[in-house]
C-alpha cells in the first residue's frame, strides 16, 4: 500500500497523517468489515502497529465496535497491538529449523541487531521474532524479513544479512541488487528453491495449459462432478474427504450465491508442497478452482494464501490478471455463455487454525480465525452463509488434470481407496529434502530409500497432528487407510531427542489453539507442562497414565480438528516410543513431589531476610 506517502506529502502531523492513511486503506476495501483482515494487514504494513487510535477509527469507518476490531487484531500473530520494527525479522523456529542450526542463526541476528528475540530496537528499525513453520523446512533455517524470505541460513549469512539491513539495505535488496527489475516468478525463485525431487505424471510433470478447463467448459456441471467422483479424488489437505461428493453437496445446496475457496493456508509443520505448486503450477491451481466453480455454479472465488507465503502474492496476482486478460477468468469464460468466475486473493496473518476450513472461512469474512459450528457444513452454509467449496491447492490441481486426463487415468494410479498421485513434502534428516510426487501406496521404507533417509529412527507422517512412527513400522504405507497425510514427512535420525520434538510440537499447538473451547485452550497447556516434566526427569510413573487420560478428554471434547489431533505427538510417541518415556520416569522418593524445588522456593526470602534456612541449608551454622 503506497497510500502512506500521500498523507505524508500533504504535510500533515504524524497522528493526523496516520488517520488519513487509515481512511484511505479502509476506503480501498469499501469500508467493508468483511475485509477486516485486509484492512488490518494494510495498516500493520504501513504503520507497523495496530494502535488504539487506529482501532477506534477503523471501527468507526467499518461500523463495528472497537472491541470487535481488537478481537481480530489480537488474534493473528502477524498483527500487533504494540509497535513492531520497520523491518520485522521472523525466524522460523520449527523443530526442523532448530535441528538445522537455528540457535546460532538467531544469535547472529541478535548480536548484530543488538536486540533479543521478542524485542524491537529503540529506534523502531528492527523487530526480531520467532514464528512457527513458514513452509521452508526443505531449506531450513529460514526466516521472513517483512515480505521476503531468506533460506538455508548459516551464522555467517545471517550476520551478513543483519549487517546489511542495519546499514539501511532494503530487505528486497538482500535477494538481488536488481530486485525491482525481476519478474515475480524470478523473485520467488531467487528467494526459494523449490526442490522438486521427483515429478509424477499428474502435477509436476508436463502439464498442458488449460486442457482441463477446456474439457470442463465443454461438459455440463453434472458431468464434471461425475468425473471427479469416478476419479476417486480425495482432499489432499489432510482430511481426505471425497472431492466429488463435496462438490455435489455444494451444487445441490440452495441459494444463488456460491463460492469456491482454495485453501493455501498450508500450516501443518513440515508441509510445503502447496508452496511448490503455487510457484510452479499457479495456473493449474486457478484452473482447478475455475472448474470447481463451473461444477457447483459459483461465480466468486477466494484463494486464501497463508501470511507466511506473502512473497508469492505478486506472482499469483499476475497470474490472475493474465487469466482475466485471456478470458480464463471473468465473464463468459472460454466463450461459454454464463460461465462467469473470478478470484480474489486473501492473505492470512499467521494463524495455523485457519487451515481448518471453518476457521478459514471466518478469516475470509474478516473475523478471528475461529472454526464455525458444524453442522451446518460449508457446502450449504459457508462463506457469508452461502454454499461454499473449500479445497486444498493440490486437490484443485488434481481436479484440473482429471478433467484433461480422464477419471479412469487418475483412478488407475495408486491403490484401492487412495487413487492418483500425491505430493509429499520431505524434510529433516535426509539427503534430499524437497517435494516428491508419487502414486499412493509407497511404503515408508521405500520412501526413505528414495529420499536418502535410511538412517531414520523416527518418521513423522502428516505433521504433528499425524503420527510419529518408529522403525518397526516402516513397512506401513502412505495411503488414506494406513498412514494418512496431507503431505508432511519429517525424518528424524537416532541422534534426535524424541521428547524434545514432542515438547516442541505441544508448544506449537498451545500457540496455535484459537482458544474457543476449553479442552484445546487449557488442556494443551497442561499437556505441554506434562511433557516438560518428562524432559526434566521429574515425571513419575503415574504421569504416563495422566497424559493418556488428559489426551483422551481433549480428543473427545474438542470442538475442531486442531484439538482432536493436538495430543497426537504425545499419543503416538507413547505408543511407538514407550521406552523414551519410561526411561525418564522415577518413582518419587517417599511420595514427595520431584517437581517442587524447595531451594528455588525459598531463594527470594533468603535474599530479603539476608539469612539462610535453619531447615534446608544443611551446613548452616557449621
Amino acid at each position: 500500500m503506497s497510500t502512506g506517502k500521500n498523507a505524508a506529502d500533504e504535510g500533515l502531523e504524524p497522528a493526523a497523517s496516520n488517520q488519513v492513511q487509515i481512511e484511505q486503506i479502509c476506503a480501498a476495501f469499501d469500508n467493508d468489515h468483511g475485509r477486516m483482515l485486509d484492512i488490518l494487514r494494510a495498516v500493520q504494513d504501513a504503520q507497523r502497529v495496530i494502535s488504539q487510535d487506529a482501532i477506534l477509527r477503523i471501527a468507526e469507518l467499518t461500523g463495528l465496535k472497537p472491541i470487535e476490531v481488537e478481537g481480530v487484531a489480537s488474534f493473528y500473530a502477524f498483527l500487533s497491538l504494540t509497535p513492531r520494527g520497520r523491518v520485522t525479522i521472523r525466524l522460523c523456529d520449527d523443530i526442523v529449523d532448530r535441528f538445522a542450526g537455528l540457535a546460532e542463526v538467531q544469535a547472529a541476528f541478535e548480536t548484530v541487531l543488538g536486540i533479543k528475540t521478542g524485542e524491537t530496537s529503540a529506534d523502531g528499525a528492527f523487530s526480531l521474532e520467532c514464528t512457527p513453520c513458514i513452509g521452508l523446512c526443505d531449506q531450513a533455517p529460514a526466516a521472513m524479513v517483512n515480505d521476503i524470505v531468506l533460506t538455508s541460513l548459516t551464522p555467517e549469512s545471517a550476520r551478513l544479512f543483519a549487517a546489511r539491513l542495519k546499514d539501511g539495505t532494503r530487505p528486497e535488496d538482500l535477494i538481488s541488487d536488481r530486485f525491482d527489475d525481476l519478474t515475480p516468478i524470478e523473485r520467488a525463485r531467487r528467494m526459494v528453491d523449490n526442490n522438486i525431487r521427483h515429478a509424477g505424471c499428474v502435477l509436476l510433470g508436463d502439464v498442458p495449459q488449460d486442457a482441463g478447463l477446456r474439457a470442463a467448459a465443454a461438459a455440463t456441471p453434472a458431468q464434471i462432478i461425475e468425473s471427479i467422483e469416478r476419479s476417486g479424488l480425495r482432499g489432499c489437505g489432510g482430511a481426505g474427504f471425497a472431492t466429488g461428493q463435496k462438490w455435489r453437496f455444494a451444487s445441490t445446496a440452495g441459494g444463488h450465491r456460491r463460492f469456491v475457496i482454495c485453501n493455501a493456508d498450508e500450516g501443518e509443520p513440515g508441509t510445503f508442497k502447496d508452496r511448490v505448486l503455487l510457484t510452479e503450477r499457479p495456473r493449474l491451481t486457478i484452473e482447478g478452482m475455475t472448474i470447481a466453480a463451473r461444477a457447483v455454479g459459483a461465480r466468486e472465488g477466494i484463494l486464501y494464501l497463508r501470511g507466511e507465503y506473502v512473497y508469492l502474492r505478486e506472482l499469483l496476482e499476475d497470474v490472475l490478471a493474465d487469466r482475466r486478460v485471456r478470458g480464463l477468468l471473468g465473464s463468459n469464460i472460454l466463450g461459454v455463455d454464463g460461465f462467469d468466475f473470478d478470484v480474489r486473493l486473501q492473505i492470512g496473518a499467521g494463524a495455523y487454525i485457519c487451515g481448518a476450513e471453518g476457521a478459514l472461512i471466518s478469516s475470509c469474512e474478516g473475523l478471528p480465525g475461529e472454526p464455525k459450528t458444524r453442522p451446518p457444513f460449508p457446502t450449504t452454509h459457508g462463506y457469508l452463509g452461502c454454499p461454499t467449496v473449500v479445497n486444498n491447492v493440490e486437490t484443485f490441481c488434481h481436479a484440473a488434470r482429471i478433467m484433461d486426463g480422464g477419471a479412469k487415468w487418475f483412478f488407475d494410479m495408486g491403490i484401492a481407496g487412495s487413487h492418483g498421485t500425491k505430493l509429499f513434502s520431505v524434510s529433516g534428516d535426509c539427503l534430499n529434502p524437497g517435494v516428491y510426487e508419487w502414486p499412493y501406496g509407497m511404503s515408508i521404507r521405500d520412501m526413505l530409500v528414495a529420499v536418502g533417509g535410511e538412517d531414520a529412527a523416527a518418521v513423522l507422517v502428516g505433521g504433528p497432528s499425524g503420527a510419529m512412527i518408529a522403525r518397526d513400522m516402516f513397512h506401513r504405507k502412505l495411503t488414506f487407510d494406513d498412514l494418512s497425510t496431507g503431505g508432511a514427512i519429517v525424518i528424524f535420525s537416532g541422534d534426535r531427542n524424541v521428547l524434545e520434538i514432542v515438547e516442541y510440537y505441544m508448544s506449537f499447538f498451545v500457540h496455535e489453539s484459537c482458544g474457543y473451547c476449553t479442552p484445546c485452550r487449557v488442556g494443551n497447556v497442561f499437556l505441554q507442562k506434562a511433557v516438560a516434566k518428562f524432559r526434566a526427569g521429574k515425571a513419575n510413573p503415574a504421569d504416563i497414565d495422566y497424559m493418556r487420560d488428559l489426551s483422551q478428554t481433549i480428543v473427545e471434547t474438542s470442538r475442531c480438528g486442531l484439538g482432536m489431533t493436538s495430543p497426537n505427538p504425545i499419543l503416538s510417541t507413547l505408543d511407538n516410543f514407550p521406552l523414551v518415556y519410561s526411561a525418564m520416569v522415577k518413582a518419587p522418593e517417599d511420595r514427595l513431589r520431584a517437581t517442587f524445588d524447595i531451594q528455588s522456593a525459598i531463594s527470594d526470602a533468603r535474599h530479603l531476610a539476608k539469612r539462610r534456612s535453619y531447615i534446608f541449608d544443611k551446613d548452616f551454622g557449621a
Binding site: K65, P66, I67, E68, E70, G71, S74, F75, Y76, A77, A351, P368, T373, P375, V510, H511, E512, S513, C514, G515, Y516, C517, T518, P519, R521, V522, G523, V525, F526, K529, Y546, L550, Q552, T553, E556, T557, S558, R559
Partner: protein, 237 residues
Amino acid sequence: MSGLRFEIDGVEIAARDGQTIMEAADAAGVYIPRLCDHEGLRHQGGCRVCTVKCNGRSVAACTEPAPPDAVVENETPHINKMRRDLVEMLFHEGNHLCPICEASGNCELQAMAYRLDMTDPTRFPYLEPCRPVDASHPDIALDTNRCISCGRCIRASQDIDGKGIFGYVGRGIHRHVAVNGPDLAHTDATIDDVAVSADVCPVGCIIRKRVGFSRPIGERDSDHGLIGSNAKAKADD
C-alpha cells in the same frame, strides 16, 4: 406435524425439527450439564461441558441438531469424567478462590464441580494468571480472575441489550473477555443491562456493587440441591 424422536440414556425424547439436543432435552426435563449455554442466548459450544455421545460420537449437545432415532449418552461415568476434567481445567485456568468469592453458593462453575464430584486430588497444574480487577464503574465491578470465558455476557450485551459492551480478544490460552473501551466506566454499561445481571455471569466475575453476600448460607442456589436437579420441574412449568 414434523418432529423426530431420539433417546437420551434410555429415555425417549421428542424433538421439533431444528431443535438442538439440549433444547429437546430441556423441554423433556432431562438435564445436560452446561456452562457457556444459557437460556435466551445464542448457543456457543465453547465450554464443551455439554459434550454427549451421539451414536458413539462426541458432540456438544447445545449446538448439535437433535438427531433422528439416535442413541445419545449423557450421564455415563466416562462422559462425566471428561466433564469433570473440563470443569477442573476452568478452575485451574483462572484464580478461583471459592472461600472469598461472593458468588460462592450461587456459582454455576462451583455447582458443576459439586454435581460432577470434583473432589479427587488434582493432577492439573494451577496456571495462576495475572488478571486485573476493573472497579471503575459506579455500580458494577469485574473480577476477571474468575472469568471462565463462557462469553454469556458478550452474547447478552450484543443480542439482548444491543450494546456490545464485551468481546473476546486474544488467541489460545490468552483469549479472554474484554470490555469495549479502556475500562467498564467508559462503556455504555448500566446496572439494568441483562449482560451484567446475576443470571448471565455464571461465576463471580461480573459483580454488582453493594449487594454482595446478601443471600445467607442455607438460602443459596447450592443449598437447594445439585445444579440441574430441578430440570424436570422447569420442563413441566
